[in-house]
Amino acid sequence: MIRIYTFSALLISYFVYSLAVYTRGTDETAPGPLPGKPEVTLGKKIYQEKNCSSCHQLYGLGGYLGPELTTAFSDPGRGELYLRVFLQNGGPRMPKFDFTEKEINSIIRYLEYIDHSAITYRKK
């Protein structure tokens, strides 16, 4: 019987903990002004639909063939222009996607939004 009680206690803890993570554990922490939401949402949608995560990582999620993009927007060696060039032309390993100007702007705004949130990451 003790096993059934232990399991039930762990299961209840799991659900309570999950709720805590969904709410107080993950409140928005991005500081400063954020880019416009519709553009960010569109950028995120394109990022998923083109499966950018197969080569690039955001917060460690994604592949390793291309560079990590969490702080690419504010990185002194990369920045907006660098991102724009690759999005327009592709690269030795990156396909040329023929994005429209609007799509490129949206992806960049999405990466800017990610960059804003990366408080802990930037220390790296």
Partner: protein, 459 residues
């Protein structure tokens, strides 16, 4: 005298055995395709233009990931369909359930593969296919859930550890699969911190759920080989099951140290991940007796695979504990060290345990055929494990090199150029893993194919 089903003699054959074998064949086909696409993806690291216009890396990687994940859970499911009647001492409650599941899964897989080839994505890391196909995966699991609980009708007061483990795996797969699609709601999708944290949480626990299915299978086989029912009913057995369950529920957070979630999320994860030291301690404590047992049963192919899985559990546990230490995780995260951990777990532990299950079933079903293929099988086991050791080492080395480059603030392209020797090593050793595992896959498919003798007519 009342005789419980468990006390009845276990018949050799059940009417659903052939369907279980078909299920195992499907799982081996997933592995076959997954290995080939994984090898292609590895070669594309060295030769970026290789098949770029036919199967780009952007397609090869999600295909490889989907197919190998499918191998893991389909082989676990096929094994369960075979073991369930034997554990329960009766036929499956819903025999047509296997066919329904097989068809649902095949249709979903075909749609997913076509969508990848067609360049239609839209999902998330590990499940990059369009999100509505996730529903197909969820539906395809239902027949097994129904069959498991209705056939076994488990009495958890006395159930052995492997029944707890299987039950947990099945239920938590459904919970975590649903959780992994929470991103479709704006509440999650609109907040990057919440979105990333919940995604890592769902995927981390989902891996735990299929580990429960696989470990349950490993424990069941071990009990059948040794004939000793003690370990799966011992206090230590249950203790480690509950430790595993706690880790499944709360030990996903070491992936999220770099996400700016609340600090207590990281603290809980760190504390839970350190409980893995107990598992490590147990392995070291039992090392001598494990070796003694291994020598005794080494001739048994399934046992040999279990021994290799044990060695990989030890290595991966050491790595997992190291990368769970925040000060180290800070540097290792986002490097190939994380990939080494994933590959060691999926190939070294999960694949070896599931192969043990496949060959255990084959030995039960077709001992004569197994005897004639022993040399091929042994060669496959040795090649795949030796190659995996090189592969694992080269990934760790490549990760260390990336850490050193990042500390020296070197550019991404320069780091990639410096990493080429390690990329070569992991590509070639990866191809050798494929070669070794293909020996096992082809042999198993060959042995699974022949129809067994039909059941004798009832008197």
């Amino acid at each position: 005298m009342i005789v419980s089903p468990a006390q009845l003699p276990v018949p050799d054959r059940y009417s659903t055995d052939n369907k279980s074998r078909s299920y195992l064949m499907l799982s081996l086909c997933y592995l076959l395709l997954g290995l080939l696409l994984g090898t292609l993806g590895a070669f594309q690291y060295l030769l970026p233009d290789l098949l770029k216009n036919k199967i780009s890396f952007q397609q090869a990687r999600p295909l490889h990931v989907y197919l190998v994940i499918s191998w893991i859970f389909t082989a676990a499911q096929g094994g369960l369909y075979y073991y369930l009647p034997r554990v329960a001492g009766r036929e499956l409650r819903w025999k047509q359930g296997i066919t329904v599941q097989l068809l649902l899964q095949l249709c979903t897989s075909i749609l997913i593969i076509v969508s990848f080839f067609d360049g239609q994505f839209g999902g998330r890391e590990y499940f990059e296919f369009p999100p509505w196909l996730g529903l197909g995966i969820a539906l395809s699991w239902l027949p097994l859930l129904i069959n498991f609980f209705l056939t076994l009708r488990p009495d958890y007061k006395t159930a052995p550890v492997y029944i707890w483990s299987w039950s947990t795996g099945l239920v938590f797969f459904m919970i975590t699969l649903s959780e992994s699609y929470l991103w479709i709601f704006d509440y999650f999708n609109g907040n990057i911190v919440r979105d990333m944290t919940v995604q890592w949480k769902a995927m981390g626990s989902m891996v735990g759920s299929w580990n429960m299915l696989v470990y349950g299978t490993g424990m069941y086989i071990m009990e059948r080989i040794s004939g000793d029912k003690g370990p799966c009913r011992s206090r230590t057995g249950y203790f480690f099951y509950f430790l595993g369950l706690t880790n499944l529920m709360f030990n996903w957070g070491h992936h999220t140290y770099i996400i700016p979630a609340a600090p207590w999320v990281r603290t809980v994860s760190y504390l839970i991940s350190m409980t893995e030291l107990l598992i490590l301690g147990k392995i070291i404590w039992q090392w001598k007796s494990t070796l003694k047992e291994a020598r005794k049963n080494y001739h048994h192919i399934a046992y040999r695979l279990l021994v290799f899985a044990d060695a990989w559990i030890f290595l991966n546990l050491v790595l997992a504990i190291l990368i769970s230490v925040p000060a180290l995780n800070y540097y290792t995260h986002g490097t190939h060290i994380t990939v080494a951990h994933a590959m060691g777990t999926t190939i070294g532990i999960n694949t070896m345990l599931l192969m043990a299950s496949v060959f255990f079933i084959l030995k039960t079903e077709n001992e004569e055929g197994m005897g004639s293929g022993r040399k091929t099988i042994h060669a496959g086991i040795l090649i795949s494990n030796a190659a995996l050791a090189v592969f694992w080492g080269s990934l760790v080395a490549s990760g260390i090199l990336k850490i050193s480059s990042s500390l020296n603030k070197e550019s991404f392209s320069y780091t990639m150029t410096k990493s080429i020797p390690f990329f070569k090593l992991f590509t070639y050793s990866g191809a050798a893993i494929t070669a070794g595992l293909l020996l096992l896959v082809f042999k198993a498919l060959w042995l699974l194919y022949p129809e067994p003798e039909p059941l004798p007519p009832a008197d």
